[in-house]
Symmetry: C2
Subunit: 206 residues, 2 copies
């Protein structure tokens, strides 16, 4: 059926048994649990999608969670529909943006929206019932200084309940936030379909 | 309320109006629709989570989709529970792996499992009713040559229905796959909580 010789199979089994033993030893030291500060940044795709992937894992385990969208306004997305229609008891969903800066063309309104979203975010993070809060695109609001990265860092450091996970997404995450994060990922763009004249599609981008 | 001066507000509005006009002009050329070959690779987190984020978008829009897991065996994950319990009519879920290579310690069994998973994947991709197929961790199976990357590339290139999206995840995606992909993202690791002795946690990693 396959071309694995008995000798090769045995070598493989020994090598993997050794690998497993080494791995088990390492994993035994990783026994801590902690609410994580998770940052998804970079120019590539998947920053928000991966955030929502974790929100859906929370929902699956019956763990209360919440989403605050800092940029997206009232456009309907799949993730929002799915959560609002099926899981609104487990996951609060707050779209508090007004759209991208070039849509609103109103800096004062953008700043006010970002500040309102951050107030809501703090309230949700402090809620002892909530286990994960996704702050979608908050990095954009910090990048333009609509909210101060130092305020966000100080709040997370001093007030985040120990077991609460906070996920912060968006390009250009600022350095002080990366410094206090526990898990930070840079999504890099290898290829993007816009280059080939393909628009954002239902079920992929929204 | 904020410190935006009237002059600054006007400058901002003009600049953003210009940006929007330029953007709208570009976006008008992006009117194509196409089933995408999407690759999430790299050493960082979020490859599978982002894949599941898109699967949940599909489910939200009522679009039939499917998942084949190439490595994960019968361990229960949040995403699988959520889909099997709530959305099994919209999304087929096939966990066809036997666990990681160092768990099975049996190369022939690993190869047979990968080949079975790839047969199922082809069947799902060819199904005209299904709009997205997530091939979770398939890159690992190709990396170890359990399935041949050239077979996968030839099949996707010659037989994938035009509007079907196929998402392939896992580290070390091979070059021929990246070449035929429409959207490829490299998840890079900036920080990882294992370093701090934190184990994989419910609602985050599974």
């Amino acid at each position: 059926m396959t071309d694995v010789t008995p000798e090769e199979a045995e070598r493989h089994a020994k090598k993997m048994a050794k690998k497993k033993a080494a791995r088990d030893k390492i994993m035994a030291t990783k026994d801590g649990e902690k609410g994580l500060i998770i940052v998804n940044t970079g120019p590539g795709k998947g920053k928000s999608s991966a955030g929502f992937g974790m929100i859906f894992r929370h929902i699956a385990h019956g763990m209360p969670c919440a989403v605050v969208q800092f940029i997206k306004g009232n456009t309907q997305t799949g993730e929002r529909m799915l959560i609002e229609e099926n899981f609104s008891k487990l996951c609060q969903f707050h779209t508090m943006g007004e759209g991208f800066t070039w849509e609103t063309q109103d800096k004062e309104r953008d700043i006010a929206a970002a500040k309102r979203a951050w107030e809501k975010a703090k309230e949700l993070i402090l809620d002892p019932e909530i286990s994960m809060v996704l702050l979608d695109e908050i990095n954009i609001a910090m990048r333009y200084d609509y909210i101060d990265v130092e305020d966000v860092v100080a709040f997370l450091r001093d007030h985040k309940p120990e077991m609460t996970h906070v996920v912060l997404t968006g390009r250009n995450a600022k350095e002080p936030l990366l410094e206090i994060s526990d898990l930070a990922t840079e999504m890099g763009q290898i290829k993007h379909p816009f280059r080939a004249g393909i628009k954002a599609q239902k079920g992929v981008e929204f």
